[in-house]
């Protein structure tokens, strides 16, 4: 275990942090209302060179790995998780393609990520991979995405990629507004399809960590914002942070966010290193992210009291956004099952050793 960050990590953090503070945070309500971050913000983000941060270099990405991605996601989501999703044209859908076929299939289809404007979107399709190569059809009521060019479906048995045969219909939703929101209907023949439960599990692990890292950012900001408020706001003759009921709550929120960060980074490192425990670790981190979001999100609102309920402050948005992120990638219960299976496997390995 190495908690140190290298020079390149610091440069990325500083650059992304500045972008989030200057470009995203001041405009989060504007993005929410517009249901997009707009092209100019996208272009400025792309110009930073971090757009395909963790995508393999041979596919046109920077090849910096998932750990770099989760740290970047955290910083972007501290400002606006919806915007973070909107700025990422590839992930997490691209993780599925990488897990199954690498980038070669994309190249053969004329899709070089570094040289195209393609947008990818991901849906959960429980039937994906049951029978490879045949027509797929279904309907998903809500995903946090604007219309995309490539639709990727992932299920426990496998995955598929559609270039045609799907339609996005804008819908109104509860959260992550800057990303857009769509209902997706698909009925078409995949250009790529795979049956491989092991690879599906690996793809899902990366996806879970991707969303967990966005939750991490949202909760980090909600905890930090409400903590600062509690130090400024005076009631009953002293800052409300000095009242134990809130002081202990603030501490519990801090601890929840801190431990979540450790679990996420640990799982990301395990995935980058190709360790066998990665799938279970990612599932466990995602469960922890969801549980932390249930606790920290609403309590960020609580500490601000009535102000927290008003859209003049960002904590109500944080509550909505983290709730939404925790419902993606199959949600909590399936992650809990996978975490349990991963834990059981780890214990078995230890016993055998």
């Amino acid at each position: 275990m190495d908690f140190a960050r290298g020079e390149s990590d610091e440069i990325i953090a500083e650059t992304i942090g500045r972008f989030a503070a200057d470009e995203l945070r001041p405009r989060l309500r504007e993005f929410e209302a517009a249901r997009t971050v707009g092209e100019s913000v996208r272009e400025r983000f792309a110009a930073l060179g971090f757009e395909a941060l963790d995508i393999a270099e041979e596919a046109g990405g920077a090849g910096l790995g998932l750990l770099a991605r989760v740290r970047t996601n955290r910083l972007l989501a501290e400002a606006d998780a919806g915007a973070a999703l909107a700025l990422d044209r590839f992930a997490p859908a691209i993780y599925v393609i990488e897990a199954f076929g690498g980038v070669e299939p994309l190249k053969s289809l004329g899709m070089n990520l570094g040289q195209s404007d393609l947008r990818f979107a991901l849906v959960t399709d429980p039937g994906a991979g049951d029978v490879a190569g045949v027509r797929v059809a279904g309907h998903v009521a809500w995903i946090p995405a604007a219309p995309a060019d490539v639709l990727v479906g992932l299920g426990p048995q496998g995955a598929w990629v559609l270039k045609d045969g799907f339609a996005f219909e804008p819908v109104r939703g509860a959260a992550l507004h800057a990303a857009g929101a769509s209902a997706v209907r698909f009925d078409g023949t995949p250009i790529l399809a795979w049956h491989d439960p092991m690879r599906a599990a690996r793809a899902l692990a990366r996806i879970r960590i991707y969303y967990a890292s966005l939750i991490w950012g949202v909760l980090s900001d909600a905890a930090g914002f409400s903590r600062s408020y509690a130090l400024d706001r005076v009631a009953f003759g002293k800052p409300i942070a000095h009242h134990q009921a809130l002081a202990f709550l603030i501490v519990d929120m801090y601890v929840a966010v801190a431990r979540l960060g450790l679990l996420i980074e640990d799982a990301a490192m395990a995935i980058d290193a190709g360790e066998g425990r990665a799938v279970g670790a990612a599932a466990a981190a995602f469960v922890d992210a969801i549980e932390a979001s249930r606790f920290v999100g609403p309590n960020g609102v609580q500490i601000l009291g009535g102000h927290g309920f008003m859209r003049d402050f960002p904590v109500e948005k944080a509550m909505r956004d983290c709730r939404a992120l925790g419902l993606l990638a199959g949600g909590c219960d399936s992650a809990r099952e996978d975490a349990g299976a991963g834990l059981a496997a780890t214990i078995s390995e230890r016993i055998a050793a």
Partner: protein, 392 residues
């Protein structure tokens, strides 16, 4: 022995309330998305339903106490994602007028819809920190200050304003005044933009050298306390309103959790995920366990509300029980809809389904009319035997 068995007429009332609430569901999303709009006095559908007053008037007098029925009605109403088909003619300020106003004041202003202006930008739970001042100048009170989070503040005819006549007297110096819309110096600053309950208007007010007649002091007690220890009858009278409103607010939050629970349960059943309630703990699925726990939590929270209301109906003190109900209801309205959303998955985020709105609308329950933290403080004082001076 507490008996909450309902008579047939009472059951009919609750099913009528449910029917009325269902009829308004088609408007819920509109007013959620169009926060600037104010609900009409009555929707056309209202004509098909008797008013609550009429429903209650038709009941035999020996039925369930009306205060208990009020709680059950609130739960049933809020369990539907709707809006009021007809606007209530009164608001929290009317309750304060009824509790602390003189008979003459009640007769004079009782027919108006009166909001309640307590919270300020710098004073929420800590009401004694109120900065709005009232100074007697000849035959007029002069009010100066800012108020926020005024429920029904846009649609009301006027408001009861909490202001201090003596900051040195602390809480004892706070009195309440009636200010009517249109009074010079009384400005409606804005309609607040909120996370939820958007069909209910919430306003911010400013009072700038706002002059009101001397007899607009609620209760008429002009004595200026000489110290913080000297209580104000006006302040205490207004606080009385909270022993009924706390369980009522809790009932609203419980209703939101109940609505989310019912929707998730019915939706899952429609998709073929039937819940077998008779299974033992080792055989239950995670979904079954979640639904079971949720239902038990809703039942428990409802009982805390009914107990507080039952005491009120008997004219017995219910300060502790009212806070228990509010704390429990506040907790449930956070956890209940969240668990329901997890059962339904990401589809529950779409506005095509009501569950996310139950979460947003219910979230206020643990905040207004005393946050969960304040309720716990009240409970702690009661069960530990401390005064507010000894435990704060």
């Amino acid at each position: 022995m507490v008996d909450f068995t309902l008579s047939d007429p009472d059951r009919d009332i609750l099913s009528g309330v449910a029917e009325e609430a269902k009829a308004s569901e088609k408007y819920a999303r509109h007013y959620d998305a169009h926060e600037d709009e104010i609900l009409p006095k009555a929707f056309v559908e209202a004509a098909a339903f008797p008013s609550l007053l009429e429903r209650m008037r038709r009941r035999p007098s020996d039925d369930t106490p009306s205060v208990i029925m009020q709680m059950l009605i609130r739960i049933e109403r809020e369990a539907h994602n709707g809006v009021p088909l007809r606007q209530a003619p009164s608001a929290l300020g009317n309750a304060a007028l009824g509790a602390a106003g003189t008979p003459a004041q009640q007769k004079r202003w009782g027919h108006l819809m009166l909001a309640m202006s307590i919270t300020e930008p710098g004073a929420g739970s800590d009401t004694k920190a109120i900065q709005t001042t009232a100074v007697l100048d000849g035959d007029e009170w002069v009010l100066n200050g800012d108020k926020i989070f005024v429920t029904n503040g846009v649609r009301c005819h006027g408001t009861i304003v909490w202001a201090t006549v003596s900051k040195a007297a602390g809480r004892g110096g706070i009195k309440s005044f009636l200010v009517l819309k249109g009074t010079p110096g009384f400005e409606l600053v804005r309609k607040e933009k909120k996370l939820g309950i958007r069909s209910s208007d919430t306003a911010a007010y400013a009072f700038r050298d706002c002059r009101i007649p001397r007899d607009h002091l609620i209760g008429g007690d002009e004595r200026v306390p000489q110290s913080a220890d000297e209580g104000s009858a006006s302040y205490k009278g207004v606080l009385k309103t909270f022993n009924i409103t706390r369980p009522t607010v809790a009932a609203g939050g419980i209703g939101k959790a109940l609505g989310a629970f019912r929707y998730a349960r019915d939706r899952l059943a429609k998709e073929g995920i039937a819940v077998d309630w008779d299974k033992g703990p080792h055989d239950r699925t995670s979904t079954e366990q979640t639904l079971l726990e949720l239902e038990a939590d809703i039942e428990a929270a409802t009982l805390t509300v009914l107990r507080a209301a039952w005491l009120a109906a008997r004219g017995e003190p219910n300060n502790l029980e009212a806070s228990v109900a509010k704390a429990k209801g506040g907790e449930l309205c956070r956890s209940g809809p969240q668990r329901a959303m997890e059962l339904l998955g990401a589809m529950s985020l779409s506005h095509d389904h009501p569950v996310e709105q139950f979460l947003r609308d219910g979230r206020i329950t643990d905040i207004y009319e005393g946050t969960g933290q304040i309720q716990r403080l009240v409970i702690a004082r009661a069960i530990l035997g401390y005064s507010s001076a000894e435990l704060s």
